[in-house]
């Protein structure tokens, strides 16, 4: 690499990654110097994030760039490749993590578990790992970086490791991540088809038989699903995300999960030459179940970060549904429709990165202001922390999929792509698709429920604890980060045509088609993915009209009547002893959902009896899968190891007997 003038985008990105590692090293040199870490290193990292984003955006249209680093195994150096797909996800990484890093600059405080310098190292290693995963072009560097990412995030999750629950969460997380990684490794092993060459180029060149192709896809689906949190591999997610410090939760939920989606797209569409429709059916089913499960569990959570984690599961499920649709379409040879649903997937990935990070950071600010994660002890914070509150409102509306914000656009595109399934052959699929569409609609609506609960319980109403009244608003750095992400949510929501122009090259890489030109032909204002007659949506106009009638009614009312206003105590229905504790609780808000979706939960309830001295009420809604899948597996392996343990029973004669028998058996082998 010579003078920066003729650097390619990939060089800039690699430079940024190197910069991150350097920053991390610098942090470790002064592990306890809080000022340098927070005020210098993290902002620097954020700047590098922006650099990555810009370079990636430039690379989107620049065509494929490759590089080979002199690292790695002999005969298998690090192959790197920056095509539109990588570039898009790198852009996602850069833009989202820029905001998160700035927030983190203000977030990490002194004396919380791991010293700030070490956190800084792990944080930037995490970023570097994710970026390298997106660049990887051979199995070895991919696996190395994939595991590095898992490792760094594991240590970040257990940053506050004195709490046993957090340690358990980290353990569960790393274990499932590792199992998934093994599956991915196997998938690559199948993909290289006995050639022994583990570069992705070689894998692309292989023509696998349908059976082996399907095996590879299933392994990849399992492996990446473990990282993304598809059912039934989701159990780590609601444990790990709340356990981590909020910027890390944001990074994991907003960006890391997307690397799994990236891997699935990379393997499923780009490396595997042909797709089969039944893969799509699988992805649709898994995705729908995951989404529904996630949102229903989110609705009954009482811990704000767990709630967001489950909502991440929901969104991942929606992404899986979109991927499933795309697989169906490609399986039946309709690339243009596949492009539509893939656009929805990528768009939603981008949106989720923004609004989920925003919300997680919001919870972080709340956590710092109140030291409280339990929804039942929060409330009324909009008055005390207006910045966080209003910005979180933007995030919540976006997450609820309401127009004109970004969450709605991608859900709109997803639903649109469902409308074309009529052309698909096969009765079974024709029965399945409407059901899935209905499921998606239901999930979207429930998402609204969840977000109303989230925002309403935390920020609205009366403070449920007196000390909340003293909670302070977010500091300068944190505000900047939050604003950045909120602006992103709005911009992504208002300018769909422009965003799709960015996504177009990606879908071309994946399925060879794109809806960019069609969208562009409708002008910048309207979003019409297929044709203006079929469907069109213009968030700007939408916003404009609502705002206009808002303003008009406001002005008219003032003009024709008056604007007098009187403050008074809320009406107490004639019951004078009303206090903040009498507000509806988080449990209460979730109760209808618990009622309606009873079979989803494994509920153990502890009701007070009339004779209790201190009557107490406890309700836990557990996860069936934990008891149906994980515990049995654990028991099985424990049983096996108990059997194996019998071998080692201490008597030397027995040991000699083992050797003797082994010898005789082998002699017999020779003898025959």
């Amino acid at each position: 690499m010579t003078a920066p003038t003729d650097w390619l985008a990939i060089d800039w990105i690699l430079a940024a990654i190197g910069g991150w590692i350097a920053i991390g090293a610098a942090g470790v040199l002064r592990p306890h110097n809080f000022y340098i870490v927070a005020r210098v290193l993290f902002p620097l990292g954020a700047a590098l994030c922006l650099l990555v984003a810009v370079a990636a955006a430039a690379a989107l249209f620049a065509g494929t760039e490759t590089a080979v680093l002199p690292l790695g195994l002999p005969g298998l150096p690090f192959h790197l490749r920056l095509d539109a797909l990588s570039a898009f996800f790198l852009m996602l990484l850069g833009t989202a993590s820029a905001g998160i890093s700035v927030f983190a600059a203000g977030y990490f405080r002194k004396g919380e578990g791991t010293p700030p310098g070490v956190l800084c190292l792990l944080y930037h290693l995490f970023l570097a790992g994710m970026a390298m995963v997106l660049l990887a072009d051979d199995a070895y560097v991919f696996m190395v970086m994939w595991e590095l990412m898992a490792l760094a995030s594991f240590f970040l999750v257990t940053a506050n490791h004195t709490i046993p629950a957090i340690r358990r969460a980290g353990y569960l997380y790393l274990l499932i991540a590792h199992v998934g990684a093994l599956a991915i490794l196997l998938a690559f092993g199948v993909l290289q088809a006995d050639t022994g060459d583990y570069t992705f180029d070689n894998m692309r060149a292989q023509a696998l038989s349908p059976f082996w192709a399907s095996v590879a896809f299933l392994l990849a689906f399992f492996g990446f699903g473990a990282k993304a949190g598809f059912l039934p591999l989701h159990v780590w997610l609601p444990e790990a995300h709340p356990a981590a410090p909020s910027p890390v939760s944001a990074l994991m939920s907003g960006v890391m999960l997307k690397t799994a989606i990236y891997g699935l797209l990379r393997v499923g569409f780009e490396i595997l030459p042909t797709q089969y429709a039944w893969w799509g059916v699988l992805a649709l089913a898994v995705g729908l179940v995951t989404a529904l499960f996630g949102v229903v569990f989110a609705a009954i959570q009482t811990d704000m970060k767990r709630l967001l984690a489950y909502s991440s599961i929901e969104n991942i499920g929606l992404l899986a549904v979109g991927i499933g649709l795309a697989l169906l379409f490609t399986g039946y040879g309709m690339p243009s429709l596949a492009a539509l649903s893939l656009t929805a997937v990528l768009y939603h990935a981008l949106n989720h990165a923004f609004f989920k990070s925003l919300l997680f950071l919001g919870t972080g600010a709340v956590l710092h202001a109140t030291g409280e994660r339990n929804l039942g002890k929060l409330g009324g914070l909009l008055r005390h922390m207006p910045w966080v509150g209003w910005l979180a409102l933007v995030g919540a509306l976006a997450a609820a999929g309401l127009p004109p914000l970004n969450g709605f656009v991608s859900e709109w595109l997803l639903l649109q792509s469902f409308l074309f399934t009529l052309g698909l052959p096969g009765t079974f699929i024709n029965n399945l698709v409407p059901v899935v569409a209905a499921g998606v609609a239901l999930v979207a609506a429930l998402g609204g429920y969840v977000m109303v609960k989230f925002f309403g319980i935390i920020f609205l109403g009366q403070p449920r604890e007196p000390r909340l009244a003293s909670s302070h608003d977010a500091a300068r750095w944190e505000r900047v980060g939050l604003v950045w992400l909120a602006v992103g949510c709005v911009a992504l929501g208002l300018l769909p045509a422009q965003v799709i122009a960015l996504i177009d090259p990606v879908t071309r890489v994946l399925v060879g088609e794109g809806i960019g030109p069609q969208v562009a032909s409708q002008g910048w204002l309207f979003l019409a993915p297929v044709s203006a007659e079929r469907a069109s949506y213009s968030p700007l106009l939408f916003l404009l009209l609502v705002a206009a009638s808002f303003a008009l009614s406001f002005v008219l009312v003032r003009r024709l009547y008056h604007g007098r206003l009187r403050r008074a105590a809320p009406w107490d229905c004639g019951f004078p002893l009303l206090n903040a504790r009498m507000q509806d609780t988080a449990e209460g808000f979730g109760q209808p959902i618990r009622q309606v979706f009873e079979p989803f939960f494994r509920i153990d309830r502890q009701l007070p009896s009339p004779f209790d001295r201190q009557p107490s009420y406890r309700m836990e809604a557990g996860d069936h899968l934990w008891h149906w899948l994980y515990l049995p597996v654990a028991r099985a392996s424990d049983g096996v190891s108990r059997l194996v343990g019998r071998l080692q029973q201490g008597r030397i004669s027995t040991y000699l007997m083992y050797s003797f028998v082994t010898l005789l058996v082998m002699l017999l082998l020779v003898f025959r």
Partner: protein
């Protein structure tokens, strides 16, 4: 867009905004007759609105700006909704801004804001109402969406204007799928407009009320806007139903004359529809709140079955 279509659009919105309270009044009248009470005057809703606007509005101490902004947002959303649903003519420039899915999104937006506003004060009733409203919403929304999807599958378009044009354009045909969708839609609109058997707009009985519980804290102009928005919502739903299931008489693009004809037709259809609604309300009894999900789940399933039927019969 031509001047003509601009006029059409404006007319549609104005008629909706002006006529919505009338529809509410008409329904109340019919109901009173059916329950052989002496009916309130037809224009009572207008007078109520006028009175409320004159009253000064009392806002609770803790209320945040959200609380005061919500009525305007809801009102604006409902106006827009009426603007994109073809009631008189399918020649609506605004229809391009939001299709059927966006319409559902619009209703959701209004619902979320009113619920948040209800939670803002922090009284027990407000949150309770909000919770129940969202409970109704999370089942009613997908059901409505599925109803619109049925129409969209038939007409291969989600733009309401095109749906109406296609359905009314082709010669008369029976769509079994639309039959299912119709029933589902009826149930949904009962729930969405806070009507018996789901909710009772006329009661303030704590245990049962949903919509009223949410707006308990509102008064004066805010209350007026919310009430107006409610009647606009009713108007919008009615015209959606009419547009999808009885689209005849709605003027097509490029037939200015149709507009003149469309207005009386619309009035007639609304009158019949309102009467029918009043009849349903009179005949059915208010459900317990936990029957509501079952009721709406039924609507949801009917809508899904409607689509399945369409997929299987191709009609």
């Amino acid at each position: 867009m031509t001047v003509y279509s601009f006029v059409a659009q404006l007319l549609a919105v104005l008629i909706a905004v002006a006529g919505a309270p009338l529809l509410t009044g008409w329904i109340n009248q019919c109901r009173a007759w059916l329950q052989n009470k002496s009916a309130p005057p037809l224009l009572l809703p207008y007078r109520t609105l006028h009175k409320l606007f004159w009253k000064e509005s009392v806002v609770a101490d803790g209320a945040s700006p959200l609380f005061r902004a919500a009525p305007y947002i809801v009102f604006g959303a409902m106006v827009l909704a009426c603007g994109i649903v073809p009631s008189l003519s399918t020649d609506l420039p605004l229809a391009a801004a939001a299709d059927a899915i966006a319409l559902v999104g619009l209703f959701a937006l209004a619902r979320v804001f009113i619920s948040l506003a209800a939670m803002d004060i922090g009284t027990a009733f407000g949150t309770l109402g909000a919770r129940r409203e969202m409970l109704v919403g999370f089942l009613a929304e997908p059901a409505l969406l599925m109803v619109l999807f049925t129409a969209a599958f038939i007409t291969q378009s989600t733009s309401l204007a095109n749906i109406v044009e296609t359905i009314s354009g082709q010669e008369f045909a029976i769509y079994p799928s639309l039959a299912f969708a119709g029933v589902a839609f009826a149930m949904v609109s009962l729930a969405e407009n806070a009507r018996v058997p789901v909710d009772n707009p006329a009661t303030h009985l704590e245990l049962t009320m949903i919509h009223e519980a949410m707006i308990l804290e509102y008064s004066g102009r805010h209350l007026a806007l919310i009430e107006w928005a409610a009647s606009l919502k009713l108007f919008a739903y009615s015209s959606i139903g009419l547009a999808i299931f009885f689209p005849w008489g709605i003027a097509h693009v490029h037939e200015p004359v149709g507009m003149l004809l469309a207005l009386p037709v619309l009035v007639a259809k609304l009158a019949i529809g309102g009467a029918a609604l009043a009849l349903i309300e009179t005949l059915s009894a208010k459900m317990r709140i936990f029957r509501v999900p079952e009721f709406l789940a039924g609507a949801f399933l009917l809508a899904v079955i409607g689509i399945l039927v369409h997929f299987l019969l191709g009609a």
